[in-house]
């Protein structure tokens, strides 16, 4: 198991390197490339002032050097082992404990690590709420469809899931906002953010107060998450439901299910005790694959619901050509995805005794 883990982690390194190289080259090859000029937004600056600022950035980020050198510099800063660099960008001796420095965001002027530390939890929260939600619904529907194969429910669910899949997220988001967060229709949910200002002064759990019901931080958060989470998840229903259905159907007709029936087990027990666990296996495998698409989905959902997560940040970073931020966001989301795959594989080992890694 340990060697397996180690091997997987080692294999991540070329992938992550590849990701950063790819993104870096895209940025470097793009018209204008990465240069200090893109960092200076001010219009009302005197030429010499501008020049001074340019020099400052050039020195700091080495932006006047050729792209490969810039990349290596960046890589050296990011990797936990490498050469120590001082404030002037001079290279010092080799060290194994220098720590990671994700650099400073061009447009925010803040350490990238700080920014990400703020944003990642939000996006992860959104996704981690979405994932089980998607799964529960998909499994329930898929199961019912499989057991009533060919029936009205099966066909209806299949069609409507496919239809859901086909609705563009932004349309759904805007319609949801327009209808369920609008005083003109149903103002059931808030329009923006993931918690309201008032909730910061509330206790964590909902409770009754002398003034009446206080929804508490938790409930407030949940209330804010309803629409975004729905928007993020509905697209996943179709694929997962289909998968669940297929998987259950396949297992219902498997030899071991027949064995179980021959033992005298009732159909329901066959389904739940034998078929269900086996049918979950393919679902575990795809769960990791959902993560990147969820991260991408966050891009739109966060935009519509004014949630300050990674997605929102990614769009801003790309539009603002914030090299350090773009690079870190990509490799970190890549890393998260890879970890996701790893966890999924690990869960698979737990669920399926046949698989073992040594």
């Amino acid at each position: 198991m340990l060697t397996y883990l180690l091997r997987r982690l080692l294999l991540m390194i070329p992938t992550l390197l590849g990701i950063t190289i790819l993104v870096f080259s895209v940025m470097a090859m793009s018209p204008g490339g990465i240069s200090a000029q893109t960092l200076i937004g001010g219009m009302d600056m005197k030429p010499q002032e501008k020049q001074a600022l340019l020099d400052y950035y050039n020195k700091r980020y080495g932006l006047d050097q050729p792209a490969p050198v810039q990349y290596l510099r960046w890589l050296n800063n990011v990797s936990p082992i490498g050469f120590v660099t001082d404030a002037q960008g001079q290279r010092g001796e080799f060290s194994f404990s220098k720590g990671m420095d994700l650099g400073t965001s061009f447009q925010y002027g803040r350490p990238v690590s700080d920014i990400l530390a703020e944003r990642i939890p939000i996006t992860l929260l959104l996704n981690l709420v979405t994932l089980p939600f998607t799964y529960i619904i998909a499994i329930m529907v898929g199961m019912k469809a499989a057991t009533q194969r060919g029936g009205a429910f099966d066909i209806g669910a299949g069609m409507s899931m496919l239809a859901l899949w086909s609705i563009p997220t932004m349309l759904a988001g805007v319609l949801l906002l327009g209808f369920f967060a609008n005083i003109q229709h149903f103002q059931w949910f808030p329009t923006a953010g993931i918690s309201s200002r008032e909730a910061q002064d509330m206790s964590f759990l909902p409770h009754w107060d002398q003034g009446g019901f206080v929804r508490g931080f938790l409930l407030d958060r949940a209330w804010h998450l309803v629409l975004p989470v729905f928007c993020l998840s509905y697209g996943g229903f179709a694929a997962l439901t289909k998968l669940t259905r297929t998987s259950i159907l396949e297992n219902l007709h498997a030899d071991y299910a027949r064995t179980a029936r021959a033992k005298g087990l009732a159909e329901n027990d066959v389904l739940w005790k034998h078929v269900f666990r086996n049918s979950l296996l393919p679902l575990i495998t795809v769960s990791a694959g959902l993560l990147p698409s969820l991260l991408a989905g966050s891009l739109i959902v966060e935009n519509i619901f004014s949630i300050n997560g990674m997605g929102q940040l990614a769009v801003e970073a790309v539009k603002g050509r914030d090299r350090e931020l773009v690079l870190s966001i990509t490799w970190i989301s890549g890393f998260l995805t890879l970890i996701g795959y790893l966890i999924a594989d690990f869960c698979y080992t737990l669920a399926d005794p046949r698989v073992s890694y040594d």
């Binding site: 240069s35 600056m45 002032e49 327009g178 967060a181 609008n182 993931i194 200002r197 931080f217 619901f305």
Partner: protein
């Protein structure tokens, strides 16, 4: 971590209270308390000029303190630390917290003292000395003295501090000296017509708060929420605001020194990037104002639900900027087709500004003749906007050598190159896009082919720096009095200067230099007018229009008035309030 934050807030509050108690005791002992009685109880005679309007508001029968003011920003702020921040949103926030020596009177547009009591200017205009009020303190209780003003200047002028823009302006100042505790003297290197506003407009930073950062400038440059001042509102925690909070919240400065206390308990800005979400939030009553595009404005004005809950304003503030099309005259060291004055004039004749205003802006704009607004004294009333004239334009183009030789409908120059150009514009603005599409059709009638080229902001900036574009449409903001130097002086046509159309006219250069040096307004204005006539003739830009502000404000907000500076909504000292009955947010 949320709980932990609250804990630290509480600690800060407690320690401040303890300090207050100590000070209070000291004050009682010295018998100074009487002078510090609550400001809004004092009679009008004792109210400083700058607070007169606010005072009048507080005399309204339904005036009440309380409630929050809630607004929305369309983008997330990166930082609200003064100097480091660069956007209008941050400076909006800062205006509630930082104060300067003087402020402009909304009715007369004259300067009047805020932190300064009065000031004197030397005869040559090079030395300005301000006498300051002695009762001003920062929101943490420390008194504000001349030292703080001197510090503010020195701080900005420190190279390590990332304030190149401010530094560039203040370069004209030779020195700032404290003359005693409450007098400060600014000395200029050369006469400058805007010297007073330059000196008096510096936001006063508390020395005790910001001085430590001189040692760690990097920390300051990268900070996101270092904000403390003497203004009516303060950050709950002046050091630790971060963008991830998703909103910005200011609380009332309980120690505010001003003659009138502000009305709202809190000022809150939410970040809502999606336009329709912002409107919905406004509809739902969760934000107090909504600034609309012309098309929206017209629709929403008719919307009964909006009508029932809000008041709408359309106005043209005097400082409103103008939009233009800049014709690039030099590319890669070679003159372009727009280097020919006749071509530029022809383009202006083709640009049917009144149609743009009518079709795109729905009449919520007025044509711009020059960089100077109609109301400005810099403007020569005799100049009228170019009247659209297709024939004149065609004639001018023909004179400049353009003709359709191959019969494909597009003009060719003498060398046979077709008259095609790309018009660069900022992609995110719908109105601009509509306008460009309209211009495309208008130019087509004269056989000129326009290719719309929307661009991302960073790309556009880069192209401006490299002067890599055919023509561009953008806007400039203006002040009460507008300096032409930065944009039209030929010295600014160097690389990365703001004269990126490479317009050069030595006569204009001389006029600009003279005007800037002339402190006497009556002599300066004719110079500006002369300069304006040259610009009018040369058309380095085709001046388009000035847009009206179109604003919906919640009906809760009372005492909204139009001033010469525009709507008094959000102007300081605060004049608006929410009557008790309509208050929505409790403390």
């Amino acid at each position: 971590d949320r709980q932990w934050l609250k804990l630290s807030e509480m600690q800060a509050a407690l320690s401040e209270q303890a300090k207050d108690m100590r000070e209070l005791r000291g004050a009682i002992a010295s018998g100074a308390l009487a002078a510090n009685a609550p400001a809004n109880l004092t009679t009008s005679g004792e109210v400083a000029q700058a607070f007169q309007r606010a005072h009048a508001a507080s005399r309204q029968p339904d005036y009440a303190q309380g409630d929050w003011s809630v607004e929305a920003f369309g983008t997330n702020l990166k930082t609200i630390t003064p100097l480091v921040s660069s956007d209008a949103y941050a400076s909006n926030v800062q205006s509630y917290v930082l104060e300067s020596l003087i402020t402009r009177n909304p009715d007369t547009l004259e300067w009047e003292g805020l932190v300064a009591k009065d000031w004197s200017i030397s005869a040559d205009g090079l030395v300005i000395s301000f006498r300051m009020r002695e009762d001003v303190s920062f929101s943490d209780g420390q008194p504000l003295t001349a030292d703080d003003v001197v510090f503010s200047f020195d701080f900005i002028m420190t190279d390590a501090i990332q304030a190149p823009r401010e530094r560039a302006y203040l370069e004209k100042i030779k020195s700032v000296k404290a003359n005693g505790k409450f007098e400060v003297v600014f000395t200029f290197k050369e006469p400058y017509f805007e010297a007073l506003s330059l000196a008096g407009g510096i936001g006063i930073l508390p020395k005790h708060f910001y001085e430590p950062y001189l040692k760690e400038p990097q920390k300051f440059n990268e900070s996101k929420g270092l904000l403390l001042g003497s203004g009516p509102y303060r950050l709950n925690d002046p050091k630790n605001w971060t963008p991830d909070k998703g909103n910005i919240e200011l609380v009332r400065n309980e120690r505010y020194w001003g003659d009138v206390q502000p009305s709202y308990h809190r000022i809150l800005w939410k970040i809502i990037q999606n336009d329709s979400a912002r409107l919905t939030t406004f509809r739902n009553g969760d934000i107090d104002s909504y600034s609309a595009r012309p098309v929206e404005y017209q629709e929403l004005k008719k919307d009964p639900q909006i009508q029932a809950k809000s008041q709408n304003f359309e106005y043209m503030p005097p400082v409103v900027g103008y939009s233009y099309i800049g014709w690039n005259q030099e590319r890669g060291g070679k003159p372009t087709r727009f280097a020919d004055k006749r071509v530029r004039q022809a383009m202006t004749y083709l640009t049917d500004v009144s149609r743009v205003i009518k079709d795109v802006m729905l009449d919520y704009a007025e044509p711009a003749v020059s960089p100077f607004s109609k109301a400005s004294k810099q403007h020569d009333a005799a100049l009228q906007p170019y009247q659209t004239d297709l024939d004149k334009a065609k004639a001018l183009l023909k004179e400049a050598g353009y003709q359709d030789k191959n019969g494909d409908g597009v003009l060719e120059d003498k060398a046979g190159a077709p008259f095609e150009f790309k018009l660069t514009y900022f992609q995110a603005n719908e109105d601009t896009k509509r306008m460009v599409l309209l211009l495309k059709d208008l130019y087509a009638r004269a056989g000129v082919k326009l290719t719309p080229t929307p661009q991302e902001w960073p790309v556009m900036l880069e192209n401006l720096d490299k002067k890599d574009f055919d023509a561009i449409t953008l806007g400039w903001t203006s002040g009460i009095e507008t300096d032409l130097y930065q944009i039209f002086h030929s010295s600014q046509a160097v690389s990365k200067g703001d004269n990126y159309v490479s317009y050069k006219n030595s006569a204009l250069d001389k006029l600009i230099d003279d005007a800037r040096r002339t402190v006497d307004e009556s002599k300066r204005m004719p110079l500006w007018q002369q300069a304006e006539r040259i610009l009018y003739e040369d058309q380095p830009y085709t001046f388009l229009m000035r847009r009206k502000s179109l604003l919906f404000v919640d009906k809760r907000i009372h005492n909204l008035q139009m001033t010469k500076l525009g709507l008094n909504f959000g102007s300081l000292p605060l004049e608006t309030y929410v009557p008790l009955a309509q208050q929505k947010y409790t403390q």
